[in-house]
């Protein structure tokens, strides 16, 4: 009798251990596989949409990519420091389903290129980890936000590490709640340290150039990547050629 109870307990414990290991594998590996595929697909849809004729801002919605559901992707974010081919969709909203599909735009914060703070959040680890290397950004690095009508080039101004409840970092004037914004800013948030949620890594940038999509040429991209500054292993060494229409 006792032997059987011990045997059962052992089997249950081993099963629980295997379940935990499976969960870790799912979280650290499988979510990356699924999310990276989804994010690349949305970027492709957006790029196609951007290149299409017709006025007005384009967006990829649940009609184009069912996983988006009621949300929408409306921009592509490129960071030369993260790699020449780094491109992630920007999705409206920062809840879990949206952050699994790209970089999330904090609803209510400024639109790209507008006066105020265009604030976005992204995973540091898992789910395609779009902001995995956020701590490698240095002042002067470029962050490019592409929308259908315009391409916005932001320049990193600095970073800070805050606690999760410090929402003042995404205020229209960061860290000055209630102040009237005059600058066009971008703020990126992610978790810190990696695999933890104790702090938030926050990087601020300000708009330095706005280029109409039709005039966004190869030289612009070269200039942007050159301006990324001296990189260590230089992820920006081989810039991806961009055509005037943004299609590729």
């Amino acid at each position: 009798m006792i032997r059987r109870v011990v045997g059962w307990t052992g089997e249950v414990l081993v099963t629980l251990g295997v379940l935990v290991l499976l969960f870790v594998a799912w979280q650290l590996w499988w979510t990356d596989v699924v999310a990276e595929r989804a994010q690349q697909q949305i970027v492709r849809s957006l790029t196609h949409d951007f290149a299409a004729e017709g006025p007005g801002p384009a967006a990829v919605t649940g009609d184009t990519y069912p996983g988006l559901g009621g949300s929408r992707a409306f921009a592509v974010i490129r960071v030369p420091r993260f790699g020449a081919d780094y491109a992630r969709p920007v999705v409206e909203g920062v809840d879990a389903p949206q952050l699994a599909l790209g970089v999330g735009h904090y609803e209510g914060t400024a639109r790209p290129g507008r006066v105020g703070n265009f604030a976005v959040a992204g995973h540091r680890t898992t789910y395609g980890r779009p902001f995995h290397d956020i701590d490698t950004l240095r002042p002067g690095d470029r962050v490019i936000v592409e929308t259908k009508p315009r391409v916005f080039v932001y320049e990193v101004t600095g970073d800070e590490i805050v606690r999760p409840w410090q929402t003042e970092v995404i205020a229209p004037v960061p860290d000055e709640v209630g102040a009237r914004p005059t600058e066009r800013l971008l703020t990126m948030t992610s978790c810190h340290p990696k695999y933890s949620a104790t702090y938030r890594y926050v990087t601020h940038a300000r708009l330095v150039r706005t280029v109409p999509r039709a005039r966004w040429h190869l030289e612009d991209w070269d200039r942007v990547t050159d301006a990324a500054g001296p990189a260590g292993p230089d992820p920006a060494a081989a810039p991806v050629p961009r055509t005037a229409t943004g299609g590729s």
């Binding site: 499976l22 799912w26 979280q27 920062v94 992204g122 805050v162 410090q166 948030t189 695999y195």
Partner: protein
């Protein structure tokens, strides 16, 4: 309980082994597809945002 499962499965040894593998694969699919995605938001280490 795994011994009971082994006894309950029909066929020769190799057929039982195959059935066990299929069952294990099914469990993994259910976990990856439905259970883990439902559990993940309840765990704290995926928060990247400030505020609520």
């Amino acid at each position: 309980m795994y011994a009971a499962l082994w006894r309950a499965l029909p066929g020769p040894r190799w057929a039982r082994a195959v059935q066990c593998l299929v069952l294990a694969a099914l469990v993994v699919v259910v976990l990856f597809q439905w259970v883990f995605p439902a559990v993940a938001p309840l765990l704290p280490f995926n928060d990247n945002t400030v505020g609520g």
